[in-house]
Subunit: 172 residues, 2 copies
């Protein structure tokens, strides 16, 4: 299953930290890449690409001005994460059968047409919280919690889990 996250409406001045969290969550929970619309932002891209270079990939981040084209040209199923959608617990089994999946997460204001262009509007908890958290829990459910088994290519560093303290293995 190929999984791409589409982050709508990035604002370079205000959002780099939240968008960086979204991109790192996408990578850590098993997405192949993230596309973001809104303002182009080299600093945001650099901070994500530096993590990918050090911790491994593949993970591709790219900007796309025309988010509508990204949705309509997508070959596969699409999910929009929104507080107003159906509970992830009810729908995830069906969504797991998709061949490719586009996961859309909003910025401040999501145009109404997004709700109607996607295959599923999905909510994580039905309460207001965070697109970072919604993406993480949705992907955790999508891949049934198998994150510790993921392997990353060309990683220069990885963590060796410890009961207390820090241990990493690095290669140059």
């Amino acid at each position: 299953m190929k999984v791409i996250v589409l982050r709508l409406g990035h604002r370079a001045g205000r959002d780099p930290r939240i968008s960086t969290h979204c991109a790192l969550v996408a990578r850590a929970f098993g997405a192949d890449g993230m596309i973001y619309s809104g303002e182009h932002d080299s600093d945001f891209e650099d901070s994500v690409n530096n993590i990918v270079k050090r911790w491994g990939g593949p993970f591709e981040l790219r900007h796309e001005k025309n988010w509508r084209k990204t949705i309509t040209s997508w070959k596969g199923a699409s999910v929009h994460l929104t507080i107003y959608g159906m509970p992830v617990q009810e729908k995830i089994e069906g969504i797991r059968k998709a061949r490719n999946l586009l996961i859309i997460i909003g910025g401040q204001k999501v145009p109404a047409e997004v709700y109607h262009r996607v295959d599923h509007n999905i909510s994580v908890t039905g309460q207001p919280h965070s697109e970072v958290a919604a993406l993480a829990v949705f992907m955790h459910e999508l891949f049934e919690g198998k994150e510790p088994k993921r392997r990353y290519e060309n990683a220069k560093i990885r963590v060796v889990p410890q009961e207390a303290g820090k241990k990493t293995v690095e290669k140059s």
Copy 2:
């Protein structure tokens, strides 16, 4: 089970948005409250309290300068969420048996002693991403994904899940 989240090292200038996401995640996934150390921040508190007033509670947010006291005086088990810890998948079953749980999430630099003062250092994925996401997935596992069944007291608004579009019920 009483669950409190302890957010370390809040910086009023830089962190309000991430800390707000953390507090809202704590509330939406079933914590009773959040304690934060670092700088006191009324704007951050107001934005969280406004959500609690509208979407229901109980959920208490308070500042505590002395995070060490919060950890040592805690009556119950404690978990520190860190990339360096043991996989949540391996440890969650034991942690679910705790009567009360303090969940600690870091700011930029977590003092080494935190790793040794807690009962469990737990990692979500073992990859770098986001304390917001780590908290959400940890709590989602802790309560076995039962978020849609939670009821909030004195809520003025709640969402009615929809396949497409937005529906809420409000009462004044």
